[in-house]
């Protein structure tokens, strides 16, 4: 984890450190247990094909959790997530990079607003969202 970021360090337009994830099917099985989402389209290829999918797909909520990890790792010990969410606009597949990114869109007192998203290797924003976080002040 990086050094603590403070409100004085950031300005509108800044990009926060990106987080690159790449899940294999084992991670999807771990997520199924970790989250409690046992829907078979995420680990059973035959079932996924039956549902008209090209194969198993990455859970939407796992991408939400990846965006949460990106925010948490940037915020450090003293920052806080106030609100964050995303929409699942496109599917992501196992064994492909899922790149989580964020850009600061507003700043007032200790509150910072961001556009956040996950993108696939083609640069398509499959999972766009927004976040509000609280950063500590220096001194």
């Amino acid at each position: 984890m990086a050094d603590q970021v403070y409100i004085e360090d950031v300005k509108v337009g800044d990009e926060i450190p990106k987080l690159v994830k790449n899940c294999n099917t084992m991670q999807l099985v771990m997520w199924a247990a970790g989250s409690g989402d046992y829907y078979q389209i995420h680990y059973d290829k035959d079932f996924a094909n039956l549902m008209g999918l090209p194969g198993v797909i990455v859970h939407g909520a796992l991408k939400h959790a990846f965006l949460g990890q990106m925010l948490h790792d940037w915020l450090g010990d003293k920052g806080q997530i106030k609100k964050y969410g995303c929409q699942y606009r496109g599917m992501d597949l196992p064994n492909q990079d899922i790149t989580c990114r964020g850009v600061i869109t507003a700043k007032e007192d200790n509150l910072v607003q961001l556009d956040i998203w996950a993108e696939n290797p083609n640069g398509d924003k499959t999972t766009p969202g927004k976040a509000t976080v609280i950063l500590p002040s220096r001194g």
Partner: protein
């Protein structure tokens, strides 16, 4: 083509209706399992002494996680965990479900192992949209979670897309 609206008066009446509360006991193993499945690297999700050294009561719930609802054979949890378990019943026949989106809001309270949360869900809104799969019903759910001290600690909003 008929132009009958998907959202009937009966469905409209479901807006705002609350489901029965669910109880969640947050434990250390569940937090470690979730954090590992995401790939978190901060030890506040794994090492209790480390977490306490950072000012937390115990291991901390990672973003997007509020533990698992209690499962018993008498009250099956279904396949999609807390969110569907807690959803108010909706009389609508559909072929498939898609997860449309997720939002978590926090209120500055630490949510840690050892906490017991009570979650109450309601249908916040119903919308209708036409898309690639024809007419779709968009269901927005909202779940408020209070801890053992009756403090509101989190709100989870979800969007479920039902298609015929």
């Amino acid at each position: 083509m008929t132009q009958e609206p998907l959202i009937t008066d009966e469905l409209k009446a479901a807006i705002g209706r609350e489901a029965a509360p669910i109880t969640i006991e947050i434990d250390k193993s569940a937090i470690r399992l979730f954090a590992r499945s995401v790939g978190h690297v901060d030890l506040i999700y794994y090492d209790e002494e480390y977490a306490k050294g950072k000012g937390h009561r115990s291991l901390v719930c990672p973003p997007g996680f509020l533990g698992h609802g209690i499962h018993t054979p008498l009250k099956p949890s279904g396949i999609i965990g807390n969110s569907v378990m807690a959803m108010p019943a909706l009389n609508f026949q559909f072929k498939g479900l898609l997860n449309g989106g997720t939002e978590f809001e926090y209120y500055g309270e630490d949510i840690c192992a050892g906490d017991t949360l009570t979650g109450v869900s309601k249908i916040g809104d119903l919308r209708e949209r036409s898309g690639a799969m024809g007419k779709m019903l968009i269901v927005v759910t909202e779940t408020n979670y209070h801890n053992q001290d009756k403090k509101l600690v989190a709100t989870q909003r979800g969007t479920v897309i039902m298609y015929k």
